[in-house]
Amino acid sequence: MTGFESFVGVNPWTALFTFCNMLITFAVLKHFLFKPVKQMIDDRQQEIDTMYADAAQAKQKAAALEEEYQEHLKSIKAEQDAMLRDATIRAQKREEEILDAARSEAQAIRTAAEAEMAQERKKAVNDLKNEIGGIAVEIASKVVEREINKSDHQALIDEFIRNVGDAS
């Protein structure tokens, strides 16, 4: 049967079909077009945001690292200076120590030499005394030309020499 519907009228079947068609269109478009496209846009946006955030973070990190290195370099320099100063001070101290040691050793050697000298001198004096005594006795015996009491003369000569030694 063909014919025409009224110009202004509502056909419930047409309405029902329209409703179903609308729902199908909505479902299909949502599932196949809007959802994936929106998802893609959001994903990309998120990726871009992440990339920017990462870049900012990396920049910040780099700046921090640079600062750290600068600090490190400064500390190394300070350490170097301290070490140098320390070494200089130590070297000076050591120098003084060595000098002191040398000086005291020299002093000791000198003292020992002086003591030895004094002793040598004393010994020489004693030897001389004895010899002079012997010579004197010999001379005296020759002068007197007789054997006198040797012990008496010895006492006399010793006294004489002591006097001489005291006088000299």
């Binding site: 519907e5 509502v10 269109t25």
Partner: protein, 287 residues
């Protein structure tokens, strides 16, 4: 002017008429689904030219919906988009000449308008509860209840008739114009056909106008000259029944009544839907 033609009546449930509107809306649905599936395929992070356009359209739609309804209502965009596209294509399908505009049928627009209303009521009930929704009719004062009820009923009716009237009215005007132009051309040719010298004069005037229009590059003179020549030639040949004035003029009017009106009505309908549903779905500020 007739309503939609009934192609066939399925002998079920007391007869289901298959009308032009049903066919058109089915075709629109199929086309939109195929286009949607084709456009939504092969999405890449680095978009192709097609994908850029699709994304532009989708994000524009999302932006529009978010501006009107607020960010929390962005999930309504697919429905609004489907409604907009169905409405626009449902209007434009009438321009093919094979199908009748689906939106030139009150059944279609009223269904969509009622869907909008039901969505509003559903949102209101979801937001305020059933009692809260009923109580909403008594605001701001109890006396306003009948007014509120009337406005609630009038809303889908006004939406439906606005869309239907614009598209159907455009169709009516176009067919009226065709009839008028056919009558006018018949009358003109009948008038001139009575005497051969007059038609020769008209033909000569047409040639003169056309030549002068070609020399001075004046578009109106060229068109007028062609019309005069056609009139003279048709009169001399004795062809009184050719509706030659129908060439060209209806196309310009169709640009307004079909293209512009169809787009604007689709926009208005979907915008009104966003506004109504958006009002029914307030921002969840307390939550």
């Amino acid at each position: 002017m007739n309503g939609p033609k009934i192609y066939y009546t399925i002998p079920l449930f007391g007869g289901i008429p298959i009308t032009q509107t049903i066919v058109s809306s089915f075709v629109v649905m199929v086309c939109l689904c195929i286009a949607g599936i084709l456009l939504g395929r092969h999405l890449e992070k680095r978009p192709s030219r097609r994908q850029v356009l699709v994304e532009k359209g989708v994000s524009m739609l999302y932006g529009m919906v978010e501006d009107t309804m607020g960010k929390h209502n962005a999930y309504w965009t697919p429905y609004i988009g489907a409604l907009f596209l169905s409405s626009m294509c449902g209007s434009y399908i009438g321009m093919t000449g094979i199908f009748r505009s689906a939106t030139a049928d009150l059944s279609t627009t009223l269904t969509w308008a009622l869907m909008t209303s039901f969505l509003c009521w559903g949102c209101s009930i979801r937001a305020n509860g059933f009692v809260g929704w009923l109580k909403g009719f008594t605001e701001p004062i109890v006396v306003m209840t009948p007014m509120n009820l009337v406005s609630e009923i009038a809303q889908p009716i006004s939406m439906a008739f606005r869309h239907f009237g614009n598209i159907a009215g455009g169709g009516v005007l176009t067919s009226l114009l065709y009839t008028a132009l056919a009558t006018a051309s018949a009358a003109l040719l009948g008038l001139l056909g009575k005497s051969i010298p007059v038609s020769v004069v008209v033909l000569a005037a047409g040639v003169a106008l056309l030549v002068s229009g070609l020399q001075k590059k004046k578009m109106p003179r060229k068109i007028l000259g062609i019309v005069f020549i056609a009139t003279g030639v048709l009169t001399l040949l004795g062809l009184g029944g050719v509706p030659y004035l129908e060439v060209g003029i209806p196309g310009i009017l169709s640009l307004y009544f079909d293209v512009f009106s169809g787009g604007v009505q689709a926009l208005v309908f979907s915008l009104l839907t966003t506004v109504y549903v958006g009002n029914a779905c307030p921002a969840p500020e307390e939550a």
